[in-house]
Amino acid sequence: MTFWRLGIIRGIVVGLAGSGLGMGVTMLLRIALGLTAWKAGPVTAVGTVVGILFYLAGLGAFKYWLGWVRRRAAEEPQATEPTQPHWARYLSFDINHKTIGIQYLVTSLLVIIVAGIYQLIARLETSQPGLQFLSPNTYNSLVSLHGIMMLSGVLLGIAGMMNYLVPLMIGARDMAFPRLNAISYWLTPPAVLLFLFSLPAGGFDTGWTAYPPLSLRAPLGMQLMLIAFYLVGWSSILGSINFLTTIFKMRAPGMSLFRMPIFIWATIATALLQLVFTQFVGIAFLMLLLERLTGLGFFDPDKGGNVILFQHLFWFYSHPAVYIFVLPGLGVISEVVPVFSRKPLFGYKAVAISSLGIAFGGMIVWGHHMFAAGMEEWLRVPFMFTTLLVAVPTGIKIFSWLATMWLGKIHLETPMLFVISAIVVFLIGGIPVDLYIHDTYWVVAHFHSTLFGGFVFPMMAAIHFWFPKVTGRLLDERLGKRYWTVMTVGFLVTYLPMFWLGLNGMRRRIADYDPALGLGTMNTVATIGGYLTGLAMLLFFINLVVSARRGAPAPANPWHSQTLEWQVSSPPPEENFVTIPQIVGSPYGYGIPGSRHALIPMSSQPPEEVS
């Protein structure tokens, strides 16, 4: 039966069975212990965890290792049968990094759509004072889910970009650990499912930050969200191990550290942050889960706990997470700007090192999220100082982009337009935030500007830039430019009023506000802007779908770029490089006569494997 051969079908069926088994055994245990059989928290928690393990097994994720233990010949998982259609590999446990990159990106876009729709609903509620159609709890659940799902969508999005591009850019045939890579991806669909179930299970009204004590009392939806984000976290930890190993061990001959594209440097910085800091949010969420389920007293002062501990652990990850989100985006900007300015990247070494500078600086600034939380007073000045320090490496990048564009032959095609939007918006996001406007819409506008400038616009630039490589077809340039116009205008109309609203006393995470404040008009404008952004995304998806099916065939190198991924066919062959490329120079030698990044020999020369 072909249907049954699809990994995802097996995973879902076996996973559901496992989930039922887990819940059943828990209920039996509870009866044996003399408790009531059904208590939603513990029963569903065990059901979820067992279900996920069964799902992975059903998918075939453990097949290789089980085979290793039972000493079967190590057969490669044959994800797609020759008789199956082309798309089947995207729904199965496939280990090619390009498949996994596309899986990540599609999942990311789906999550971003859902999270965006949640916010559009909530935005309609706040467009005028008074309660329109949502209850305050539903409103808060929608906003919280918007936050945590967007963050997960961003994590999946950067994982997708890095998965697709890293091996191609460094001249490798695949990632260092292809099976681990597939597991990293397949941990995320159950997370998405749990996010979706969270709303029917009561949602959670804590905001995405899940601060206790509110998160200890929130409905079951809270628990689903905690488990879901824990899964996403492990996905990114395992992914980071893979990226770092791949970059440090599998670069093409001749690619020294300072011949790597900036996107690779950004990946190193991102992966280091993910590898180390995700553990902190993981443990913080696990502690919440344990306190909810077993009554341990981490955050309950009556039991010797302390709520500030959660905030420290949480922000110790979640501030570096900002850099996890934006560093790949800044890397994309550094890739796109030289190609469309036809000039070498200005100050390559400084830009390369500045990624690491941002990463290390970002490790010691988490306290600036807690100025109003009752943190020790003397910590304020050091945290303020370190925060200002991060502006230095960021400034290096921005001046490098400007200097690269300066006197360049700038081609204003869609990717470049998005990059320009990104730089401007990222600068707007850098406007300092003060203690007195804590928890207002100023903060909302600030971090959305950072994320639009650091992630959304660069990701759109990336999709428009690499789409021909991935699909072998060109995107519709006219529709792309229209999309860029509506998106940029939509962004400005949404968030510039929010800065004003924040200064005038509009608080975050409230469904209703006092009409006497006179905030109604600007809130309506922001809502209109939000829906413009939604319309823009619709244009974008139409362009994606139509161009992927009927776009003009793309040449191997439509943008005349020098980096490695453009030197192979579009889409790239299954193993990326038939012959191993030799790296002979800088990746950004545009406009320099005779400059080359790579030579790709014609004769076949397979890589030498040492086990």
């Binding site: 191990i241 770092l244 190993t245 093409a252 001959p253 590898l275 341990l296 010797g304 890589p607 040492v610």
Partner: protein
């Protein structure tokens, strides 16, 4: 600047780097747990805590690292019998350690229950560590299953090396947890 012109992909060094990165990540998990201990409880320690038993199980776990190391060395020299014997010793010592933790837990439930200040910290730290010991034991077990006879050779024993390294890591984590819970005051 330029390196060799032929691409050499050394799977062994790739696997080693991957494992070290995993261990780096996991050590930050334990770091976070130590932070939790000091943030919530400072250096408080209840007098009921069974220090002698703590010393005994620490000794057992350290000894198991020694046998694991001897097992790895044995297979590096191709002595399969010695290898299996030492890994089995390691398994036994690991199980003894878990039994010791179980006794500690039983005493803990009486004197400092999980919902109390020190109890929360004690059960969390030992619980997370015991979970890692358990995964290490399962991994070690896969090395000495009857079907694995003759599998590892001096040329090819990465699985042994990797799992033993992980086992050492679990021991080192305990070396930090033990004084944090049992000695400071």
């Amino acid at each position: 600047m330029s390196r060799a012109t032929t691409l050499v992909i050394n799977r062994l060094t790739i696997k080693r780097l991957g494992l070290w990165l995993f261990i780096l990540s996991e050590s930050f998990l334990f770091l976070a747990l130590l932070v939790v201990r000091f943030y919530l409880q400072g250096v408080q320690r209840p007098t009921e805590l069974n220090q002698p038993l703590g010393f005994v199980i620490s000794g057992i776990l350290l000894l198991s690292s020694l046998t694991a190391y001897r097992g790895e060395s044995a297979i590096a020299y191709g002595d399969e019998k010695l290898f299996r014997r030492n890994i089995l010793f390691t398994l036994g010592l690991g199980i003894l350690f878990l039994v010791g933790v179980g006794i500690e837990w039983a005493e803990g439930f009486r004197f400092f229950p999980p919902a109390s200040g020190f109890g929360t910290v004690f059960f969390t730290l030992t619980g997370f560590h015991a979970f890692h010991v358990l995964t290490g034991l399962l991994a070690l077990l896969t090395l000495v299953l009857p079907g694995q006879k003759g599998r590892f050779t001096p040329e090819n024993y990465w699985a042994v090396e990797g799992i033993v390294k992980y086992w050492h890591f679990v021991d080192v984590a305990w070396v930090f947890i033990f004084p944090t819970l049992y000695l400071v005051s």
